[in-house]
Symmetry: C2
Subunit: 149 residues, 2 copies
C-alpha cells in the first residue's frame, strides 16, 4: 500500500490527525513523504504509536519517549532506564493499591464521617507522608501523569 495518509493512520490508531501532526512536529513519528500536501506514513508508524501510548501510560513524557528512538528510527531503549521505570512503577502501584483498599473501605465504612474511620485516617497518613519538596521551579515532571485516560 506504500503509505497511508494521515486520515487512515488516525483511524487505525484512534488518534485525531492533529495529534499525529503534533507528534511529527515533536519528532515522535515521521512521515515517509507527501502526496501533494498530504503526509504519507509507513505502516510501521502504527506500532510506533502503540509504543508512544505505552510510554505515556508508563509515565514517560513525550520528550522522554522521543529520546527512546535511535537514529535508525527503531526503538533503542536504555535497559537501565527501563528497569528504573519499572521500579518506579512498582512503587506507584503499591501506593495506588493502598489507596484503592482505603477507598474501597471508605465506601462501605459504617463510621458516620470518613474522618472518624481509622482506616480512612490511615490512608490519609499514607497519602500525606513524606512529600519531598524537590520542586524548585516549574514543575518537576518526573512522575506519572495522566495514566489511564
Amino acid at each position: 500500500m506504500l503509505g497511508m495518509d494521515i486520515a487512515e493512520v488516525a483511524r487505525r490508531a484512534g488518534l485525531p490527525a492533529s495529534t499525529l501532526r503534533f507528534y511529527e512536529e515533536k519528532g515522535l513519528i515521521a512521515s515517509i513523504g507527501r502526496r501533494g500536501l498530504r503526509r504519507l506514513f509507513d505502516s510501521d508508524v502504527l506500532p510506533r504509536l502503540a509504543l508512544i501510548a505505552l510510554g505515556q501510560r508508563a509515565g514517560f513524557s513525550l520528550e522522554e519517549i522521543a529520546g527512546m528512538f535511535g537514529a535508525d528510527g527503531r526503538p533503542a531503549i536504555d535497559r537501565v532506564q527501563l528497569a528504573a521505570k519499572a521500579d518506579e512503577l512498582d512503587r506507584t502501584i503499591r501506593k495506588l493499591a493502598a489507596m484503592r483498599d482505603g477507598l474501597r473501605h471508605a465506601a462501605v465504612c459504617p463510621a458516620p464521617s470518613h474522618m472518624e474511620c481509622p482506616t480512612f485516617r490511615k490512608m490519609l497518613r499514607i497519602a500525606g507522608a513524606h512529600r519531598p519538596q524537590t520542586a524548585p521551579a516549574g514543575r518537576k515532571q518526573s512522575g506519572l501523569k495522566r495514566i489511564g485516560r
Copy 2:
C-alpha cells in the same frame, strides 16, 4: 494555639505558601481569620490538606476534591463515587502491573531489539488496545494525573 500562620501550615504540610493561598482561593481550605494581614489557619487544615493530597493521588481534580467537602466543612464524600474511583484505580493498577512486568522483561530481554521480543510486542498490544476516543474538546481530565511525584 488558636491558629497557625501560613508559614507554619506550609512547613507542617510541606507545601509552599503560594499553594495554600491558591487552595484557599479555590475553596479547598479556609482560614479562620487574620492577624493583621496574615491568615490564620485552624489546625484542622492539616488533615484537610492530607485529604486533598490523597484525592490528588487517587486521581481526583482539585475541583472534584472541592466538591467532596460538605457545607459544614467536613468531608462528605459520596460512597458511590469512592467505589467507582476504587474500581478505576484497580483497572489502572492492573495495566500498570502488566506494564511493569513488560518493562522488567525488556530490561533483561536478550532479543537484539525490543521490537523483536514477543513479550515487548505483547505489551504494545496491551498498551495500544481499546483507546476509547472520548475526547471531544479540551482535555477530559478524568484519569489519573501526577501520581507519585
